[in-house]
Amino acid sequence: MSSEENLQETDTEARFEFKKEQHSAFQSEKGLTEETIRLISEDKDEPDWMLERRLRALKQYKKMPMPTDWPGQPDLSELDVEEIVPYIRPDVETRGGAENWEDLPDEIQDTFEKLGIPEAEREALSGVGAQYESEVVYQNMQERWEEKGVVFCNMDEAVQEHEELVKQHFMTKCVPASDNKFAALHGAVWSGGSFVYIPEDVTVEMPVQAYFRMNSEGMGQFEHTLIIAEEGSEVHYIEGCSAPKYGTHNLHSGGVEVFVKEDAHVQYSTVQNWSKNTFNLNTKRAIVEENGTMEWVSGSMGSKATMLYPCSILKGRGATDNHITIAFAGEGQDIDTGAKVYHNAPDTKSTIESKSISKDGGRTNYRGLVHIADGAEDSSTSVECDALMFDNESTSDTMPYMEINESKVDVAHEATVGKIGDEDVFYLQSRGLDDDDAKQMIVAGFIEPITEELPIEYAVELNRLIELEMEGSLG
């Protein structure tokens, strides 16, 4: 990146390595029972309807089978949900988050220092919600946005403060708990996350940012993000994830629901860097109304296994979807990710770009579904998947599915797989770069078409993570 040097960077390596001792106020019993769910809800002082939704989701979760019949899907046999503690509330006096940075316990401040969050704030990001374990403990929304009616708050707080909006949108028509087993699990035990509301015709120029982090051994993370962008509004939401290394398998099963109203524009960016023992099984979905635009930017670097297919339902005429996906799988990782788009209205458009890199026995898979409904005339979709393989221990799969029920459409899918060329490496070496730098440069070039479309801080973060991944293999 040419302007990299103008930017502040977070030290992702430091982020990755440290962990803190636990002093939690409340820790639910292991395993999932109705009792656990009631405890969670009670502890949060939730309205009855939310408890009911949780209990219904629990029933659905118990009923549904594990997804095990997908061709070539990641191995989930080591995942024992019952063993993963679903909910931990950090030891903070003020429920719903501290108003000021200084009010946070030192230990948590210290953790955030290393995550670079105050720094990010100094960079004038418009709001910072940082999730330490399950609850958002620190919130700050710049006043000018609040004046315009923009809401950016902890999801738990939203249940209390914006009850009607939440009741209407929370796991109803976008991601119902019945969607899949992990969505059901999420619906039962969700905790924390962000609620974002952008009123009509308001444009939030700066990205709204949230960091999530898992820090307790064997602890699940089930944060819920609900974004409502009213007509003509615009927002860019950034989510970053990283968890320190632990011995037992962690589970992350977040839920993201985005409502993009007429002419609204939402960009949702994630760089996921969960530790290499995390099962990352998320459900992310957007419903896009007339002439709305939804953009998903996902970088999947961490986790043991990821199954993530952000979905856009293009419901209104002229709605647009844009997916950018980068996956990097190293030793022991299985990154199964892609996109889903439903074209349910005429003149809808989707573009999916995917780049994946596998090395040291890692596996990447692009799994994508594009569905064009009967009557969605003049819709178009274009999918491009490129994969780069480092070595012969790795695996790179591509599994697109196209379901076309309308003839007046334009559907194109292209995919390539290749290796790092020996000649290319030699050429760069002969110009003075060592073997590793040469490979790194080729990888950076490979994902460049995607990074150039990213917000700059994301591009930097991604490149840093890739450098770290690649260095890791050399040491």
Binding site: G72, L369, H371, D374, A387, M389, F390, D391, N392, S394, T395, S396, D397, T398, M399, P400, Y401, M402, E403, I404, N405, E406, S407, K408, V409, D410, V411, A412, H413, E414, A415, T416, V417, G418, K419, I420
Partner: protein, 407 residues
């Protein structure tokens, strides 16, 4: 076993024994039939693609077995071949000691009879077939096989074996007899090909059954070093077709090409898959399929390029294009790459669309009526795959059938 009571004649040991007895089959074959029969109830239907809330082809609801009439497998078969290659009806081959040994060696070695419920059914009940054997260094003339189906069900088996440096082109055509009753019928065909070192086989097939036919075929070949196996798969007829065409590239530097063309109309349903497994170094595969669907027809395409861990220096390409002529038609496609060796150059692409309106407008501007222009464009759409067809006769047949369907 589902619907066992609805069989026109029992699919049971007695039936299988009788088929074998009437044809005076050797013990080993009888045993294979009985094994397949026994396995039947535990086997699943062939894999079909499923996505959330959708099954691309629903085979389980079609009761293939109910269409089976083991003792009414009537057909007409013509073979055209020259002296250099051996082309004989399956059961005639068993009368010749050398040929019987050849059949015994290869039967069921490429397509496991117990691969799925339909292959097992086919193995248990087949009554007709062809054995093609081309000895070393023989460059055989084109072999032509025409199968005309007259009964309610027909189970057909074809074995192709070529020795070192042999070369042969095989052209197979299937259709329905003019006198055949209009009730529903079931055709099932299995083709196994063992292509020897540096041998060349082109196997072309044109399926043109009437639209009361349910058609299941599985064609698979295995290649030795430097061998080439090219498949051409034309699908025009049938009510429902489920086919698999595949090559196992087992010999170093071997090659395969799978060329497909289909044209579905009315309420036809085609579920076509092309698969290649790269299992040796320096292998090359090229998968090219083009299809047109009209009316309420539905097409399902799956293409798999699977590169094994030891398949160094692989080249593998796949292209699939579907043209939709009607709003009520439906096209599903899933081209897949499974790559386990990084020394691979692989790509695939797929498109679905309609006739280009600009092209149409241009032609109409040159005074060509709309329908004629459309027809020209459809015929033009098929040209890239037709060009891959090396057998003139097959290409001309395909062209003719496409032309007929358009007019």
């Amino acid at each position: 076993m589902s619907g066992a009571t609805r069989f026109h004649a029992g699919i049971d040991v007695e039936t299988v024994e009788r088929i074998a007895e009437e044809r005076n089959e050797p013990k080993w074959l009888r045993a294979k039939r009985l094994d397949a029969l026994e396995a039947l109830s535990d086997l699943d239907y062939p894999d079909v693609i499923q996505t959330p809330g959708r099954t691309w082809t629903n085979l389980a609801d079609l009761d293939f077995e109910a269409l089976v009439e083991p003792f009414d497998q009537t057909e007409e078969k013509d073979w055209v071949a020259d002296d250099q290659a051996t082309v004989v009806p399956f059961h005639e081959a068993l009368n010749d000691a050398d040929l019987e040994a050849l059949v015994k060696e290869h039967f069921g070695s490429v397509v496991d009879p117990e691969e799925n419920r339909l292959t097992a059914l086919s193995t248990a009940l087949f009554t007709t077939g062809t054995v093609i054997y081309v000895p070393s260094n023989v460059d055989a003339e084109d072999v032509k096989i025409r199968t005309t189906m007259n009964g309610t069900s027909l189970f057909n088996y074809t074995l192709v074996v070529t020795d070192q440096n042999a070369s042969v082109t095989i052209l197979e055509r299937q259709d329905t007899g003019a006198d055949a009753a209009t009730e529903e019928r079931y055709y099932s065909g299995i083709v196994e090909a063992a292509v020897g070192e540096n041998a060349y086989v082109q196997y072309g097939s044109l399926q043109d059954f009437d639209q009361s036919t349910y058609n299941y075929t599985l064609k698979r070949g295995v290649t030795d070093t430097y061998a080439t196996l090219n498949w051409i798969e034309g699908n025009i007829g049938s009510q429902l077709t489920k086919t698999g065409v595949s090559t196992l590239l087992e010999g170093e530097s071997s090659e395969t090409k799978i060329v497909g063309a289909f044209f579905g109309h009315e309420d036809q349903h085609f579920d076509l898959d092309s698969k290649v497994w790269h299992r040796a170094e320096h292998t090359t595969a090229d998968l090219v399929t083009r299809g047109v669907i009209d009316d309420e027809a539905r097409s399902v395409y799956e293409g798999v390029q699977d590169v094994g861990r030891d398949a160094w220096d692989t080249s593998s390409y796949q292209r699939e294009n579907t043209l939709m002529l009607s709003d009520e038609s439906e096209a599903d496609a899933s081209p897949k790459l499974i790559i386990n060796n990084h020394d691979t150059e692989a790509s695939h692409s797929a498109t679905v669309g309609q006739i280009d309106q600009e092209d149409l407008f241009y032609m109409e501007g040159r005074a060509i009526p709309e329908q004629a222009a459309k027809n020209m464009l459809v015929e033009g759409f098929f040209v890239p795959v037709l060009e891959e067809v090396e057998v003139d006769e097959l290409r001309e047949d395909l062209e003719e059938r496409i032309h007929e369907r358009l007019h």
